[in-house]
């Protein structure tokens, strides 16, 4: 065990203990802002919705190469960056031939009038920097996706998009390229110590297993501990509700939980995979899941949030849940006693309640490869298309026998205390002709299974209406082959 963490910042290894000002749940944002030289990172909302706090994390991939990702530092607890490089906006300016020079993303932001009040700008620069390092000549859609997690209230974004397109033309080459070997060396040096981080302060304990066995054993011992990986949900309890989380198991460093495999016509995702990684794998194989993840949070959130976390939190909206129901996914739960597999339709039991036993961990999600003739769609209704939690979401799957419904799954989020199926409508449709008249009758049955509420996002009447209409939309896109005039990447159908 080690009770300190180490990461690279400003080109040097920083070793932190938790005996002074920092606790294991101090966010990276607060750590940076408490010092003297990283005040460029800003707090705009402390909930991962604005991106003003965006930093870039460079991490070793499987081949010991650096992988750059934009993260919201307001939602990242310090131990989560153990063994990684933390890059802030202050690190981008550099000396070239003795003269101070701006990074290409900075220079183009200046020249395109990409900043006005400047408060969101450091975060935007860092999102663009991550894009610069990962994509050469990104498409317009990719630029937009990279910027979805960054709100700007002044510019109207157009000059920022222009700056991104102008900057990202050097295949990611910059001063960081020159230092990469040194950084890799430093990160390997940190990783050479194979002891897991385990921090105990008066009020808190924080354990970061490195292996599956350590994870399962620690879970067995601490069944009340809060499980985190990306912490994008749990961190809100610290940043918004000011709770002191007493016992945490951080699964973010268990590589065994991040494996993807495909065999026997099943695709299996490690529960610790980030949603961004899941999305990449889903792109060609599971288009409805890809659509769901494309409108899930932002790149910053998807880079840390995990499939297991999303399932475990069992939110009534739970954007991946309805679509996983439509895919008939299975969840694997493991404990020191062994493992078991549960169908997702039996996994969610109630409001934020799942079938996971206290000593178990969600470790894998397995999805059978949909048969060619199965029609699968994801729909999301939200006030804003992106970076907005669904008002209503739906995962639909349909198998036809000639023109008759052989089987149908209609799974909804946001319509009840838990994500659930429209059983009455499903039963009604099964065996019937897949035609508009029948579908319109089924639409009236959908609301039988639900009791939507009115809240900050919308009224109950709207929820019911949208839920009904989504079925008609599904019919129109399957039977009537109405294609959406919206761009395909919208994910909104």
């Amino acid at each position: 065990m080690q009770d300190t963490i180490s990461f690279v910042l400003d080109g040097k290894i920083q070793r932190l203990d938790f005996k002074g000002a920092y606790t294991p749940t101090t966010t990276v944002l607060n750590y940076l802002r408490a010092g003297l030289s990283h005040k460029g990172v800003k707090e705009g909302c402390a909930e991962g919705d604005c991106g003003a706090c965006t930093v870039v994390i460079a991490d070793l991939d499987g081949a010991n190469k650096l992988r750059y990702q934009a993260w919201d530092s307001c939602l990242i607890f310090l131990p989560m960056i153990h063994g990684k490089q933390l890059i802030t906006v202050e690190n981008l300016k550099h000396k070239m031939n003795g003269i101070e020079a701006l990074h290409p993303v900075q220079e183009n932001m200046v020249n395109c009038n990409g900043s006005q009040c400047g408060y969101c700008t450091p975060g935007i620069v860092m999102s663009l920097f991550a894009l610069y390092k990962t994509e050469a000549r990104p498409t317009h859609a990719s630029i937009e996706d990279a910027l979805t997690g960054n709100l700007c209230r002044c510019t109207g974004y157009k000059p920022i998009i222009e700056a991104a397109a102008k900057a990202c033309v050097h295949d990611g080459r910059d001063q960081f390229t020159d230092q990469e070997q040194d950084i890799i060396h430093l990160l390997l040096e940190i990783r050479a110590d194979e002891k897991p981080v385990s921090v105990h302060t008066g009020a808190q304990s924080y354990f970061q297993p490195l292996t599956r066995t350590q994870a399962l054993e620690s879970r067995n011992k601490k069944q009340e501990a809060i499980l985190i990986s990306g912490a994008s949900d749990i961190a809100l309890r610290v940043t918004k509700r000011h709770e002191i989380l007493s016992e945490i198991i951080d699964l973010s460093h268990v590589e065994e939980f991040k494996q993807f495999s495909t065999e026997n016509n099943r695709m299996t995702f490690g529960a610790g995979m980030s949603l961004e990684d899941v999305r990449k794998h889903a792109k060609n194989l599971l288009p409805a899941l890809y659509d769901a993840l494309s409108v899930f949070g932002s790149r910053q959130i998807r880079s840390v949030a995990t499939l297991g976390g999303n399932l475990g939190s069992a939110s009534p909206i739970g954007d991946t849940l309805p679509v996983l129901m439509a895919y008939d996914a299975s969840i694997t739960l493991e404990s020191v006693q062994g493992e078991r597999t549960v169908n997702i339709n039996n996994f969610i039991l109630g409001y934020r309640k799942t079938d996971r036993k206290p000593h178990e961990l969600i470790t894998r999600v397995s999805i059978p490869k949909p048969r060619k003739q199965t029609l699968l769609k994801f729909y999301k209704v939200s006030k804003r298309k992106d970076l907005d939690i669904s008002t209503v979401s739906a995962g639909f799957s349909l198998a036809l026998d000639e023109d008759k419904v052989k089987s149908i799954t209609l799974a909804y989020g946001g319509m009840a205390a838990l994500t659930k199926r429209a059983s009455a409508a499903e039963a009604f449709l099964t065996g019937k002709k897949w035609e508009r008249r029948v579908v319109e009758q089924a639409m009236e049955l959908i609301i039988q299974d639900f009791t939507p509420i009115s809240d900050a996002r919308s009224g109950a009447v709207f929820r019911s209406l949208a839920a009904k209409n989504l079925l008609l939309k599904f019919w129109s896109e399957t039977a009537a082959a109405v294609s959406s005039p919206f761009s395909d990447s919208d994910g909104t159908g």
Binding site: R33, K39, L102, S115, L151, R384
Partner: protein
């Protein structure tokens, strides 16, 4: 001059080196302030128990109303806002107690130890209830031209209706922040993220019971403001100053995002009722508006905002007989406040709704009805408050934009598309902007500057305006450089500081550059006069022949030259030590007031504005009629900024203003529950536009060759007017919705047109179409 140079802080912005108040380095004695606010919309405060909080280690001060040494008030115009509530609270979010502690965490713990007992009272939470209960902030206001009642009786067609516009949260990225540093005696320096340093200074002095000359307020830059820091930054500054005075230590208050959204006021929601008379062509003969604003619990700027809404009830149209009644309701919500447009958007939303309804009633295109009713250039060019619309750009904007946006052809394609698609509908609309530039409280149209030239030839410009991202300091830099004939690298624009330039007006009403730019020019003219005198005399001493005359000296390209004898010249920087040696001051104050404006508020007649800014927008949207989702397909903007001082910055203001307006018109919904608690108190549920919400095809142009004789360097104000370009998008959505009923029925519509409003409106039309 008149060229695009980057924002003067752009390099610092992109490097994270711009210093905002929360970034300032303060010594280890810094305390963190926290405000404890009411959890009830309306209640009697029965008791406040502070002892446990005071006893918590790390807590230095806990204050409530009785601890205020000066006046317990912070209303900017009417003194109806206590700094800390005494025996009643009037909204959720009203401040009751202040805490100063060594850390934010301890301040939060202390808050949990405070016990406040309330007795709840009935609350008024919306405009309709306020009207029913006769709850108003002030008597109604009236504006009247002609006899609308008589004209309505003879009109061929009459339509009556109402439109609701929603609140809007400013959502500046930098929440309200203030840092106070105690000095000796009673001195206090407040670094406040404020648009109005002089008023912040005044409120601090009043609350602390000290003189204004003991308070200095300074602001380098704000991380956005949009009107939200015009008066309400004063609150945070006053609270911070109270804690600073009580502890004699530096204190900072930076509101958490949710607290900021809960505590501070928003754009005023409006309920506007109208009755319009028009002929078969759509020409309006008579119009009556009743505007009802939700002012919240206190007056703040509500009456000035109401006034501007009434002054913009005409939008861009000549209406021979027009009555406007305006009322500001008192409700149990936080006091609503300035927000880009300052009532203008609400007033114009009413008028653009009227035009849209006339067009739908007559089955004509809205653009045609707009053109027909535009103010004329020679005739029909007097507003309903008696001001002539001079240099009317509406017709040239219309002609150019109709052509460049290909409006008529696209209208046809929209109709074709709609005929082919059942579940998807498109809509298109054109809307104009005419926005009056000046504070309508005429005496506020004044500004000061202090320009110092140092002996090395560098220049420090102080002015009364504040930088909130709009690029004011960049434009001031350009103006100073052009007027002094030196390059911008010699000039620095200072942080705004009340000890440099006193008694200023807020940076508001889009007038920052107009007013402060002129004040800077006045100061520079004084300095140039003095320098020219000295240098003419120096040139004359050193040359034979005719003496140089001060009037002949020109300042250009970093050199001062006698235009009659060009070989008599000296580098600007070299001249300054000579001026100093000649015992002539290199520091001058400039002062400017807008000439020839003034009006009678009581009769609602006169000339409130120095000039009008114009703009026009065509927007096309696609609506998914099964989900209410819409996509902004293409937006064309043509906007009038006179001779642009900095086209790059101005286009940024136009695009940013438009998108902010689109947010207000579409996704930005503010809701309160039945107890007056704000439901959308963070970006989790309050949705400003993201990068994906801007038009897929976004074309912005500035009107060329349109100099404005009434402002600095023939430019025009920009800031607020472009926000109202967004009505084109809002009404394009309505157009698409209306297509669901094949334009046979008037859709139910509101602002914002959220997906919920859109879908419910469509459902209404579907039912009507079926029956």
């Amino acid at each position: 001059m008149n060229k695009s140079i980057p924002h003067d802080s752009a390099i610092k912005h992109v490097s994270g080196e711009s210093v905002y108040i929360d970034d300032m380095l303060v010594n280890a004695q810094l305390l963190h302030g926290r405000v404890v606010y009411s959890k009830h919309a309306h209640a009697r405060v029965l008791s406040i128990e502070l002892s446990a909080a005071k006893a918590l280690p790390g807590v230095l001060s806990v204050l409530y109303s009785a601890d205020i040494p000066g006046h317990n008030q912070m209303g900017p115009v009417i003194h109806d806002e206590p700094c800390l509530a005494v025996d009643q609270v009037h909204c959720v979010g009203q401040a009751l107690v202040l805490i100063a502690a060594v850390s934010e965490e301890i301040a939060i713990q202390a808050e949990a130890l405070i016990k406040i007992e309330y007795e709840e009272l009935p609350a008024i939470l919306d405009i309709r209830s306020a009207i029913e209960q006769n709850s108003f902030l002030a008597p109604p206001r009236f504006m009247k031209r002609g006899d609308a009642d008589a004209a309505l009786k003879t009109a061929m067609h009459v339509i009556k209706g109402e439109i609701e516009t929603g609140a809007q949260e400013h959502w500046y990225l930098e929440t309200q922040t203030c840092l106070c540093i105690p000095g000796e005696d009673k001195e206090i320096t407040a670094y406040s993220s404020t648009q109005h340093p002089s008023e912040t200074q005044a409120i601090i002095a009043e609350v602390l019971g000290i003189a204004k000359n003991e308070v200095v307020v300074e602001i380098r830059r704000m991380g956005g403001a949009f009107g939200g820091k015009e008066t309400q930054a004063n609150w945070i500054a006053a609270w911070c100053a109270l804690l600073c005075q009580a502890t004699k230590r530096p204190v900072k208050i930076r509101l958490f995002r949710d607290d900021d959204q809960i505590i501070t006021g928003k754009r005023h929601p409006y309920l506007i009722k109208y009755e319009v008379g028009f002929d078969e062509c759509g020409k309006i003969s008579a119009l009556k508006f009743e505007q009802n604003a939700d002012g919240g619990y206190a007056t703040d700027l509500s009456m000035a905002i109401l006034e501007r809404a009434m002054l913009h009830a005409d939008s861009s149209y000549f209406i021979p007989n027009m009555h406007v009644t305006g009322r500001a309701c008192r409700t149990n919500l936080p006091s609503n406040t300035a927000f880009r447009g300052f009532g203008g958007p609400q007033g114009m939303a009413g008028m653009e709704t009227v035009i849209d309804r006339i067009a739908r009633f007559l089955k004509k295109d809205g653009a045609e009805i707009r053109k027909l009713n535009f103010y004329g250039t020679e005739t029909n060019n007097i507003t309903h408050y008696g001001q002539e619309v001079e240099l009317n750009r509406l017709h040239i904007l219309y002609d150019q934009l109709m052509a460049s946006s290909d409006y008529l052809e696209r209208r046809k394609s929209v109709n074709t598309f709609n005929a082919k698609h059942e579940f998807y509908k498109k809509g298109i609309a054109l809307t104009p902007v005419k926005f009056g530039i000046s504070f309508t409280t005429s005496f506020l149209n004044q500004a000061g500057a202090l320009v110092n030239i140092y002996k090395d030839g560098t220049v420090l410009v102080n002015h009364g305006g504040t930088e909130m991202g709009q690029g004011l300091n960049t434009k001031i830099l350009q103006i100073a450089a052009a007027e002094l004939g030196i390059s911008t690298s010699f000039i620095k624009v200072n942080a705004t500081n009340t000890s440099k330039v006193p008694n200023t007006s807020a940076t508001a009403a889009s007038a920052g550059t107009d007013l402060n730019g002129m004040a800077v020019k006045v100061a520079i003219d004084i300095l140039k006069g003095r320098i020219a005198e000295v240098m003419a005399s120096e040139f004359s001493k050193k040359s034979t022949g005719e003496p140089s005359l001060a009037a002949d000296l020109v300042f250009s390209d970093d050199v001062i030259t006698d235009s009659k004898y060009p070989d008599r010249n000296i580098a600007f920087a070299d001249a300054m030590p000579l001026v100093h040696f000649n015992q002539v001051s290199l520091s001058a104050a400039g002062f400017y007031r807008t000439p020839d404006i003034g009006w009678d508020k009581a009769t609602g007649w006169g000339k409130p504005f120095n000039y009008f800014a114009f703009g026009m927008c065509v927007s096309e949207v696609l609506v998914d009629t099964l989900t209410g989702f819409h996509k902004n397909l293409r937006t064309d903007i043509l906007h009038d900024v006179g001779d642009s001082i900095n086209p790059g910055l101005d286009i940024g203001q136009v695009e940013g203003g438009y998108i902010q307006g689109v947010g207000w018109c579409t996704t930005e919904e503010v809701k309160w529950n039945a107890n007056g608690h704000l439901l959308n108190h963070s970006p989790d549920t309050y949705k400003i536009p993201s990068v994906q919400d801007i038009p897929a095809d976004f074309r912005t142009h500035l009107l060329q060759s349109a100099p404005n004789p009434r402002a600095i360097r023939k430019s025009k104000a920009v800031a607020e007017p472009p926000l109202m370009l967004a009505f084109a998008t809002w009404l394009a959505i309505k157009d698409a919705v209306s297509a669901v009923g094949n334009h046979a029925f008037e859709p139910e519509f509101k602002l914002p047109a959220t997906n919920e409003v859109i879908l419910l409106s469509i459902e209404g039309l579907r039912k009507k179409t079926k029956s």
